[in-house]
């Protein structure tokens, strides 16, 4: 085994992969949220459609997208491996676990991640598959904004999206600062800042995301 694979397959290395891929997914979320927030101009989706078209056609963005999917898949596989391995480290479980020595969401990253994965499949099916693998958008039949308005006219997807955002918020609330700890960035000067930025990010981004289906369902944005 080379030193690279040895390092990355150690327990610390597996966590490093989680941290680095997680932080790149966080960067993606920021861009995704910014683009989608264009619907709040409430101009019938004009600004949003422009932005979405740019993201869908620019070669640099499309290339980065491949990296993004690779990172996402690595985050999922590595996460599942860690979840499975860690579970086996306590073959006989405790009869009583007090559970008040840590937050429930920090102990439930695997579960929250699985919920997010289920949400992601639904979400990709709704928009990504439609805009990339059908000609609904490219043929000018519908704009992406109209597709959104159509999906979110139905209360079922709205509820699913809000639940997805809640899972995301808790996943980020632990994941953001945990990534820095894993990379060894625990420092009296920076850690308080990282923790507050992480908490702010974990609340704000899912809140803006959740506001989109709700606003469209209530026809505040149309």
């Amino acid at each position: 085994m080379s030193w690279v694979t040895k390092t990355l397959s150690s327990s610390l290395g597996k966590k490093l992969i989680m941290a680095v891929t997680g932080l790149s997914l966080i960067a993606f979320l920021l861009v995704h949220c910014g683009i989608n927030a264009c619907i709040f101009f409430n101009d019938g989706g004009e600004t949003f459609n422009h932005a979405a078209e740019f993201m869908g056609t620019n070669w640099l963005i499309r290339t980065t997208e491949i990296g993004l999917f690779a990172g996402l898949i690595l985050h999922i596989l590595d996460g599942l491996k860690l979840w499975y391995d860690n579970n086996a480290k306590r073959p006989v479980k405790y009869a009583i676990v007090a559970g008040n020595n840590s937050t429930w969401y920090s102990r439930s990253m695997g579960l929250l991640g699985t919920l997010l994965l289920i949400f992601l499949v639904i979400h990709l099916r709704h928009f990504w598959v439609v805009s990339r693998f059908t000609d609904v958008i490219t043929s000018g039949q519908k704009t992406l904004f109209q597709e959104m308005a159509e999906v979110f006219a139905n209360p079922v997807p709205v509820v699913i999206y809000v639940l997805g955002c809640i899972s995301l918020a808790y996943h980020l609330l632990h994941g953001f600062q945990s990534a820095f700890q894993t990379m060894g960035w625990n420092h009296p000067k920076y850690t308080p800042f990282i923790k507050s930025v992480g908490a702010g990010f974990a609340i704000l981004i899912p809140l803006v995301f959740a506001a989109m289906p709700i606003a469209m369902y209530l026809q505040i944005i149309k």
Partner: protein
């Protein structure tokens, strides 16, 4: 020492590493609230012996909170409800009439020997893999001949307060030994005496920790919350730094 506390104890009984265990319930009467948790067990064991029954096996040594032997998982917490060792836990932390459940540390790397006693030699092997400094023989050096920043001395000392009891492993949902291992790595890497083996230490101790079958770290912080010596998870971040930088920069593979 007579008292007026009456308790119901649910204790894990297991004949040996191979046999199946189960909980056994005992009523203990006349316990003083000034007794330590272990003294309460002594009272129960005296009774069991006089009834010619098998006393409950549990680990203990110093009974003053410095050796780390007294491993008991009490009502869902390693060392019980207070952030202290089981030997320093007093019965006044409980109320008469309480039911107390006592389990051994649970981890693949800490197999049960008997009842509440577990085998923690995996910790010894982690230490042996790199938790030391090499010192040449000869005359003793002058005290204070090595300048050490006060902050580093303090941090090293705080890490050195780890008594290796294993409460961090017991508390962690992954049975991870990161807090223990990182305290040992930190203690030595912060001091000038620990520089010679610094890279080798981080790499070897992490490798040994993984080989022993401890889990990975989810950064839940449960270990820090339960540690009787208040070891900080900042040490875990330091070990992550030490390990990752040693992996990318060491000249040799350890």
């Amino acid at each position: 020492m007579e008292g007026n506390m009456n308790l119901t104890l649910k204790v894990w009984r297991q004949k040996n590493a191979k046999s199946e265990g189960r909980f056994e319930t005992f009523d203990v009467k006349g316990i003083s609230e000034d007794m330590s948790f272990l003294e309460m067990f002594d009272v129960l064991n005296e009774r069991l012996i006089s009834e010619t029954k098998e006393p409950i096996a549990f680990d203990h040594d110093c009974r003053e909170g410095i050796c780390g032997m007294c491993s008991m998982y009490i009502n869902g917490h390693p060392h019980g409800p207070k952030q202290t060792t089981t030997c320093q836990l007093h019965m006044r932390s409980f109320k008469s009439g309480d039911t107390i459940t006592v389990e051994p540390w649970r981890a693949a790397a800490f197999p049960v020997i008997k009842d509440l006693a577990v085998n923690r030699s995996s910790f010894d092997r982690i230490i042996a893999s790199g938790g030391f400094v090499s010192v040449n023989t000869g005359n003793a050096r002058d005290a204070n001949s090595l300048p050490i920043p006060k902050e580093n001395a303090d941090l090293a000392f705080m890490a050195a307060a780890c008594i290796g009891c294993g409460a961090c492993v017991a508390a962690c949902k992954n049975a991870s030994a990161m807090l223990f291992t990182s305290a040992k790595v930190s203690q030595l890497s912060l001091l000038p005496q620990g520089q010679a083996e610094r890279q080798m230490r981080a790499e070897k101790m992490v490798a040994q920790m993984d080989a022993e079958g401890f889990g990975a770290c989810t950064n839940t912080g449960a270990c820090e919350a339960e540690c009787p010596k208040g070891i900080s998870i900042e040490n875990i971040a330091r070990m992550n730094r030490e390990y990752l930088s040693a992996s990318v920069s060491s000249n040799k593979e350890y």
